[in-house]
Symmetry: C2
Subunit: 351 residues, 2 copies
Amino acid sequence: MSDNEYSGLSCPIPISEYPHVLLAHGGGGKLMHQLIEKIFTAAFANPMLETAHDGAVFKADSDRLAFTTDSYVVDPLFFPGGDIGKLAVDGTVNDLAMCGARPLYLSCGFIIEEGFSMDSLWKIALSMKQAADEAKVSIVTGDTKVVDKGRGHGLFINTAGIGSIGHDLTIAPSMVQPGDAVIVNGDIGRHGMAIMAHRESLSFETTIESDCAPLADTVMRLLDEDIEIHCLRDLTRGGLAASLVEIASVSGYRIAVEESKIPVVDQVRGACEILGFDPTYVANEGRMVIFVPKKEAEKALAVLRDQGLWPEAAIIGRVGDERTGIVTMKSLIGAERIVDMLSGEQLPRIC
Amino acid sequence: MSDNEYSGLSCPIPISEYPHVLLAHGGGGKLMHQLIEKIFTAAFANPMLETAHDGAVFKADSDRLAFTTDSYVVDPLFFPGGDIGKLAVDGTVNDLAMCGARPLYLSCGFIIEEGFSMDSLWKIALSMKQAADEAKVSIVTGDTKVVDKGRGHGLFINTAGIGSIGHDLTIAPSMVQPGDAVIVNGDIGRHGMAIMAHRESLSFETTIESDCAPLADTVMRLLDEDIEIHCLRDLTRGGLAASLVEIASVSGYRIAVEESKIPVVDQVRGACEILGFDPTYVANEGRMVIFVPKKEAEKALAVLRDQGLWPEAAIIGRVGDERTGIVTMKSLIGAERIVDMLSGEQLPRIC
């Protein structure tokens, strides 16, 4: 967590008394109640959490809702541009946004390894609160488990999210149509390379920062401007390539992209070259592809670039009418190749 | 998973090819898609999962909804009367039921340790499906992560759940009133002692089976009979004692229970005596306390016992009008003592 409005707050559980999380902090007794109250309820502060009930009860403002979940096992927990807490909020917020939903509520489940630093737990909770404020969601229900030392790895977080859908569009890979423009909201590959560089203690001239960011406001802006979005997908594990391959496969149409149009900053390109990675396969945490009808592409781009929101947003390709379900990429030298999904991941535990 | 309708199905990923889960199965590439499709989508089979989207979209049948989450880290993963999969479904279903909600949808997040048995993963997925069928919920969205060997422990599962609230009652600890009867739906302590006995390879004359069971149908029956439920709480970590202490503390009233009225089967009582446990602190996974006005207590008991559903259901105490917020227990010999919450848990990783 870097310089946010909460970063000055000190851990409410005295570090001198409990420097580390104990197995008993997950045992359902006094220590667990103290941990939940002093760390999580204090950090996330909202009326629903304070009812101390088994779940949160709310009134939905729409009868169409979206529901999603992700677990976060990123290693290291703190990295340039974010930490596991920010990631756990933004990642799930973004999955809701990809359904065209406005994120409302998050749940969070913590699996803590015995011996984990109490102060780090507090910093991560504050980072989640900061990210939740930014994404305009509340963390309303949660769970805490502690596993014995050596049977976890610091901290794993699961978040699930509920969002409301206030429009009549169906936004899904199956809605992709021939002629659709493929737009990306910014330069790709930064999250993966930030983690990689930090993990391997590689240093470049300037530090590569993760692109970790909430995307829901951007999606709401596009919808508010009545842009007929066909499909959205955030570019996490597997990167741009995996997302496009998956969408092409579900839609059944060919997706053709041009390498020269895909924004990659020099730092990331350089790091990828040195390490032998292809940026189109590298994970992102604040990037998405947007499929819109060709006639709406320029308008969508203008909304994305408005007020400097996503200055690097670009149209990177189009959907063809061939029913091949594949992705092709025109390289910098003009040759066309089929983009495939990797077997695994270039970088394990990236999110 | 013991003898259920799915137990004859063999693992769709050939064990000869992939006997164990690899790091690459969590990498966002082909292997991950294969794992999700062949194991999870196949086992949980429902139309929402098959859209291969970032989340599930649904129409709510009520504007009042409940939302809850729990992570499951039980050790061992398979135990008499259940497994982590059944627990992950029933536990979250029960948390929804404790809000008076009818469970609708579950999410699930898997954190798998590299090297985990593929066949066990399949068996656990089938067990989740069986439990979901029984509880009438659908698993509609999920996530899979794989962590390196030695940095997890077999399998951790998180589930989050959404339920609809079709009545106007507020069911919460703050609604408990003086004069309320305290009802428990069955004998206590079996889940904890089943895990303990299995973990420590203790054998008794007959195997103690976990009480792991879904409670939502029971709660719906009580509501259908217009019973004015004030509060519900399932007796998980910390057992009956921790639940009552928490409710007394939030409500502000004294809760008085009688030890002689708390059902405990002989096997569990015997095992507790040998091992030095107090059954009121032992975890359950299919037991709850129900707070209803005194005048409705007998009717509630009749509903619970109807058709042999919960033959052991019993009124174990009442809420006094003293504003002390404590729990007292009248022992078998007639002495009264204050029930406190333990500091930690007698048994770590019980759920």
